[in-house]
Subunit: 331 residues, 2 copies
Amino acid sequence: MAGDVPVNIDMIRAAAHRLSGHARQTPLLSSPFLDEIAGRKVLVKAECLQHTGSFKFRGAWSALTALPAKAQGVLAFSSGNHAQGVAYAARCLGLPAVILMPADAPAIKIANTRGLGAEVVLYDRANEDRDALGAALAQARGLELIQPFDHPQVIAGQGTTGLEIAAQARAEGVTNAPVLVCCGGGGLSSGIALALEADAPDMQVRTVEPEGFDDVAQSLAKGAVVTLPLRTGLCDAIVTPAPGKLTWPILRRLCAPGLVVTDAQVLRAMALAYERLKLVLEPGGAVALAAALFQPEALEGDAVIVTASGGNVDRAVFMRALQAGGEDADR
Amino acid sequence: MAGDVPVNIDMIRAAAHRLSGHARQTPLLSSPFLDEIAGRKVLVKAECLQHTGSFKFRGAWSALTALPAKAQGVLAFSSGNHAQGVAYAARCLGLPAVILMPADAPAIKIANTRGLGAEVVLYDRANEDRDALGAALAQARGLELIQPFDHPQVIAGQGTTGLEIAAQARAEGVTNAPVLVCCGGGGLSSGIALALEADAPDMQVRTVEPEGFDDVAQSLAKGAVVTLPLRTGLCDAIVTPAPGKLTWPILRRLCAPGLVVTDAQVLRAMALAYERLKLVLEPGGAVALAAALFQPEALEGDAVIVTASGGNVDRAVFMRALQAGGEDADR
């Protein structure tokens, strides 16, 4: 991998070739009711319908089909979407996968990750060092660590979403529109930005983050990485403290100013995705739709494209969205 | 239209041609967790992602693009999925649509139908005769009545779902499997059965109905139409009293014995579609999935295909499903 250009369009196209027939080409959905709220055509790339319920399967498949020859299996840290993507891709490819999770992770997440065929190793968040434990495991068993976003082949895999967006939007007659992307560490945003640069030069990525977790928006505004305190929030899938080392230079070069939405807007967007698209979105997967619907003045043009990046949401949170979003969605 | 054969495969292929680029080719989804419950591969045709949230858009588009030249517009009775399909297809085609709905229909359904561009005419269920009112309206304004299932071009349109199932299942390596179809009047079931007869002769339709509303299953068992009392139930979209005049001869000729599921199974299937597929299903759209998951002994082979025919469900009912289905889905 050249140090200067760790990810490029050729790698994304190669990843698309490896993903073909394995990842789903998710549909680009729309609803006249959402268009009316937004005041423009809203096209929704439904990555919640991807295997394991989020786009993360793409990056995992891409990385696992480009492993160094010496790798005996793979290792990931996470209790979330990345872990599920890695676990299922590994199972499909017949590779051992070890997922390192805190012992106090929800039982359902541990069960789901095991259900997808991974070996789950639990650690004590208070008394053990995750990174040291992971490094020791990786060395002892010949495992390759798959980072959730700062990994060239993961970014390339997520970028295949952008190739599909370019082609599917063109089929709908849309070639010039902002592309709103739910943004944590920036793997999906940077991958899509690279894909659009090549295949849809009149489309530009706008990252979308939840209020209080807008490290990428602040970084883009300042032109330098801003790091925020690490905390948790409603949009748990995307509450990273800072853009990644590999993703930041791409985001900085290619993205327009970042957008920031409130938790209330996120819950309303989830209720509207339920009502009008029949999709289950998790909070972190609904931020882009929230921006398209409730911040139309921040956008230009007669169409907007949004990623709906995941749907792995606890039942209690989903019901809260249906209750909170009720008034708007029923109007 | 030949009297003996009101619908045939050529009409379905012609409808597919007219629908191309207008109806969505909905995805065929799956989840390893559902496969495990069912004990075989479960492929889910996600028609809840069709325009207006159900397969009904297909039949509506098919009928509206094959209107007699004299028609000045279209008329439909219904407060449900058929009305929404007709309203939206008419709006896209620039045709006037009148939907006759009872004045006591839920406000949200009236608003939605108007929101899709139709003129809603309300009538008093107790004191007015819907059919007479409709006939008078149709004659006065030159409107063509679009029946929800007993209409050759509607059946042909629904049959396009079967053409897609045959092709998409083949792409997944499945050519021999039962195809479970949510069944009310039989428009979708009969259309799919005709399509499979031509394109996937080793796939046979099994109709699925809710307990207490199994007029088609009883009719198939008896070899003659059985009519049940008209009532309402959880699966409101498919609680018809008898198979249709046009659909019955097709169902009788082509379908294997009908399946019947309980309301509890339907609610659990809705919760699992939420959890594992990220899809919103209405009760009537979840009966086929319920049969695949909870009546595996009634099926043969290592794969089953199910239609998930619609997702237009009141929030309260959906939350009830999430609560009722909790134990199973979280296991």
